[in-house]
């Protein structure tokens, strides 16, 4: 079977790539697209380390075929900062030590960003249930949850609109 040619948008840039029909979006990101920020922890949708958004909807890229990206808009961890300016969640994760080994961090940030876009002031319980699909084995989640709550509060106070669109 000849490879598929896929035209898509990744982090705002038009992109084209070739993939096997059976390749997942995670395979394509980590392979031909060279975007290794999305991690493979399980390849079964249970750990969330490969979280991306497609048309602003949070998904696991291991559970999507690369072919399905045709004509859609994909966002990954690599598109989260604006140039040199870190997203407030990224900055807060650093300040509040919401990461240890860092392997889950990309997925945590992408998922947290998706939450705040939908629900700018979530409760602790809402954060915890939203992030239930993102496994972290290092932190016990405490500092991650606090960082998300703190970012939400700060973003609302400061009206950081550039990261809300």
């Amino acid at each position: 079977m000849a490879k598929l040619h896929v035209s898509t948008t990744i982090n705002g840039e038009p992109m084209e790539f070739l993939c096997e029909h059976s390749d997942t979006m995670l395979d394509a990101l980590r392979g031909p697209l060279g975007l290794t920020g999305s991690k493979e922890g399980c390849a079964s949708g249970d750990c969330g380390a490969c979280s991306i958004t497609i048309d602003d909807r949070l998904i696991c890229s291991c559970l999507m075929l690369a072919a399905e990206a045709e004509g859609h808009e994909i966002r990954t961890i690599e598109g989260m900062a604006h140039g040199e300016k870190l997203h407030p969640l990224q900055q807060k994760f650093l300040e509040m030590a919401a990461l240890q080994c860092g392997i889950c961090t990309s997925g945590m940030l992408v998922a947290s960003d998706a939450l705040l876009r939908k629900n700018p002031r979530p409760s602790e319980e809402e954060v915890r249930f939203w992030l239930a699909g993102n496994l972290c084995r290092c932190t016990g989640y405490d500092k991650i949850v606090r960082a998300v709550l703190e970012t939400a509060a700060e973003m609302q106070e400061q009206g950081l609109k550039e990261f809300c669109q």
Partner: protein, 289 residues
């Protein structure tokens, strides 16, 4: 897996043509949250994947003039949650669909996929059974309708005919005083497969239960419609005696297995406990409608 072919037709006829022609080697791709896992683990090696999400009818969510709903088989749980009215009319179905996996999975997983995957533990199925949903299927010989509880044939198997594709669910209009609820037992708070799942849909009039349907999951080879439990509730004021009788009927209906997720004893007991808890939630919601 290199022999696999991916197709994303934009019409149902085209999809059915390709799907039927490829025979047993073909698989339908809706959310893909079961299919891709099965492919990755080597359980499934399909020759053709038909992605149905480019077919408008498959992802549509429509409230009908009479107050019922048509839900495209591939509509994701998140899309249902974002619908302005659906969750108000069918909160139990919505909560069931949105217990399938993580938020990431809910962004993809559909009620149609959950049903066609054929797992007795699929969360949306007991709620759909309780809701009295009718499914529309279409194949090379045209369209037909089935009761949702008639779709599963056993673990991993359905009663769809070769070449047939599940198109949509139809949920009936709700009389005043009606609501539904779904609860499942899992060891953690999220991310597990149901050990037992219970969907309850009921109608209350002056505090008396005038109609009820109960779907019970993960306790038998297929999701069960437990009429004996519903009959125990109908005509009662959902008093303890009625709830105990319904719980006993649920436990009696169980034909579970011992596996890594639960034991026969545990599942049988929990089915009754969950019936009571789910009924209480549905009743509270019904009183507010």
């Amino acid at each position: 897996m290199t022999e696999l072919r991916y197709l994303a037709p934009s019409s149902l006829d085209e999809a059915i043509g390709a799907f039927a022609a490829a025979g047993s080697a073909a698989r339908i791709l809706a959310g893909g949250t079961d299919l891709l896992v099965q492919m990755r683990s080597g359980v499934l090696k399909p020759g053709l994947i038909v992605d149905i999400k480019k077919i408008a009818e498959m992802t549509a969510i429509e409230e009908t003039a009479d107050g019922g709903f048509h839900i495209g088989a591939a509509a994701s749980g998140m899309a249902l949650a974002e619908h302005a009215r659906f969750g108000k009319v069918w909160p139990g179905v919505l909560e069931a669909v949105n217990l399938i996996g993580s938020k990431q999975v809910q962004g993809r997983a559909s009620a149609g996929g959950n049903l066609c995957n054929g797992s007795p533990a699929g969360d949306s199925v007991p709620a759909m059974v309780a809701a009295g949903a009718i499914v529309t299927v279409q194949g090379p010989n045209g369209r037909r309708q089935m009761k949702v509880e008639d779709v599963p044939a056993g673990p991993g198997r359905t009663n769809l005919l070769p070449g047939e594709i599940l198109v949509s669910f139809t949920l009936p209009p709700r009389p005043k005083g009606s609501s539904d609820a779904y609860l499942r037992m899992i060891p953690r708070t999220e991310m597990d497969i149901a050990v037992v799942g219970v969907g309850v849909s009921l109608t209350l009039k002056d505090g008396v239960c005038t109609a009820a349907r109960i779907g019970l999951g993960a306790v038998a080879p297929t999701v069960l419609l437990v009429e004996a439990a519903a009959n125990a509730l109908i005509g009662s004021k959902l008093d303890d005696a009625a709830l105990n009788a319904a719980a006993a009927a649920c436990s009696a209906a169980c034909r579970p297995i011992d596996d890594k997720r639960g034991t026969i004893t545990y599942r049988t007991k929990v089915a009754g406990v969950l019936l009571k808890r789910t009924t209480a939630i549905a009743a509270k919601r019904a009183q507010e409608n």
